[in-house]
């Protein structure tokens, strides 16, 4: 029994190390808040522990975690809409350590919600449209169009900087 728990802990640790950066950043682009992003990303892992879904590959596991974290972020955004005094409206808490905003990031964060995560997953994590379609359970053509739209918007905003 103890051995089994140890083994589960090792697997969880490995899964966490593989995915925590991606999940954190996905949550960040949705929630625009480091602490909320931490909470949402950690919650996605906790859901994984609770639901114990079976995966045939680490990629499938990552896709499940991405989908779950996106859903958690959307839930959080809906909650924020119902709560006018949400943290986002109050402002970032003092001492938020990780964010080093620059112009590109600022531009991405200003994109409509549905584009932000796509831009992150495609341009940073290197997911192809087909992989995104599998992970997000949306048609690849739709995602390709959304990526093109996002790119146009960013170009408008950043101009030459984007082509570098």
């Amino acid at each position: 029994m103890g051995e089994q728990i140890e083994r589960e802990d090792d697997l969880l640790r490995a899964c966490f190390e593989r995915n925590y950066r991606t999940l954190y950043r996905i949550c960040y682009v949705y929630l625009k808040n480091g602490y909320d992003a931490e909470d949402a990303a950690a919650e996605a892992f906790i859901r994984l522990i609770q639901k114990k879904p079976r995966f045939s590959s680490p990629e499938q596991e990552s896709a499940w975690l991405i989908r779950t974290s996106i859903n958690l972020c959307l839930d959080e955004l809906r909650r924020r809409k119902r709560r006018p005094d949400s943290l986002e409206q109050i402002g970032e808490p003092a001492g938020e350590p990780e964010l080093q905003p620059n112009e590109v990031l600022q531009a991405v964060m200003e994109l409509p919600e549905k584009y932000r995560v796509l831009v992150y997953l495609h341009y940073y994590e290197g997911y192809t449209a087909a992989e995104l379609a599998r992970a997000l359970k949306k048609p690849a053509s739709t995602l390709r169009n959304q990526l093109m739209d996002a790119r146009q918007l960013l170009k408008k905003r950043l101009g030459d900087e984007l082509d570098e």
Binding site: D9, E98, L99, N102, L105
Partner: protein, 300 residues
């Protein structure tokens, strides 16, 4: 372009502090999830144990009811209720019907012990046709092991019908006096005289399927008997009255169709369906069959 985005998103983090905080939250969630799971497992275990306990109790009740039912059917036809009243009645040895030293039943009223209540028994010449009841089925093995039974070969030396008065309800049975010629099992000795309560009166006029064999017993008949050994729990209750069967006899036949292998000129009469392993013959053959069945039962 990817390079541009990489640099931008790198700026988001998470840094080591965020990594630490996320892992700590995850560890908390993991502990809570495990506690929940253990709680669920405990609940399931408790549920399984409870269900098992209920099943055992129900099984016990049904077994007890089945035993009660079988025992109820084992007493003479006509009884309406029977129960084990070991705690409710004084523990007294049965007085047994008075007998003469020569194997006859004395024609006196039968005195009952304090274990019996509101019931009287007397010899009678009157008979009443018993009501046919369905026999409780026993396997061949059970025919030799179901109750505490005695097995012996003997000769009927006396037979008398009796009238039982249960607080106004009349019932008719018979007592047979038997000389024991060979003991197959039981605390008996050759030459002993024993009394057996028959589940119906004896009369040439009576023929009820369940009582056929017992009702046809006559003085001088030889048979192998396999009666129940009555104890203080062997009670017959009817119409608010109670009779300790030991007051009448130390032995009794569970029904009148089985439990006897009766020697006749045409061979042994017995209930074939109850003893499928016996294919008839002489009383000696029946004796050998019973002895063999007892040996098998004791080996099991």
């Amino acid at each position: 372009m990817n390079k541009t985005f990489t640099a931008a998103f790198d700026g988001i983090g998470p840094g080591p502090a965020a990594h630490h905080r996320m892992w700590a939250k995850l560890a908390e969630g993991k502990a809570a999830a495990r506690l929940q799971e253990e709680g669920r497992k405990r609940q399931v275990t408790r549920l399984v144990i409870s269900v098992a306990a209920v099943c055992i109790v129900l099984l016990g009740i049904s077994l007890a009811m089945a035993r009660y039912d079988r025992w109820r059917h084992s007493i003479p036809t006509g009884s309406t209720s029977l129960g084990t009243v070991e705690e409710a009645v004084p523990s007294l040895e049965g007085l047994e019907a008075p007998t003469g030293g020569d194997g006859s039943l004395l024609p006196e009223n039968i005195a009952l012990s304090e274990a019996s209540a509101k019931v009287s028994v007397k010899y009678t010449t009157k008979t009443q046709e018993p009501v046919a009841t369905s026999l409780v089925w026993f396997s061949e093995e059970e025919m030799f092991s179901h109750w505490n039974m005695a097995f012996f070969r003997g000769k009927v030396t006396d037979l008398k019908n009796i009238e039982l008065d249960f607080n106004g309800d009349k019932a008719y049975r018979a007592l047979a006096r038997v000389r024991v010629d060979r003991v197959l099992k039981g605390e008996l000795a050759e030459g002993d005289y024993v009394t057996i309560l028959l589940p119906c009166p004896v009369s040439e006029k009576i023929w009820v399927e369940d009582c056929g064999l017992a009702a046809s017993l006559r003085i001088g008949d030889e048979a192998v008997f396999t009666p129940i050994v009555y104890d203080k729990a062997s009670m017959w209750g009817q119409n608010g009255a109670w009779l300790s069967l030991k007051d009448l006899a130390p032995y009794g036949l569970a029904d009148g169709a089985r439990w006897v292998f009766l020697a006749t000129e045409q061979g042994v009469r017995y209930m074939e369906s109850a003893y499928p392993g016996f294919h008839g013959g002489t009383l000696e053959d029946a004796e050998a069959y019973v002895a063999e069945m007892l040996e098998t039962a004791s080996a099991d």
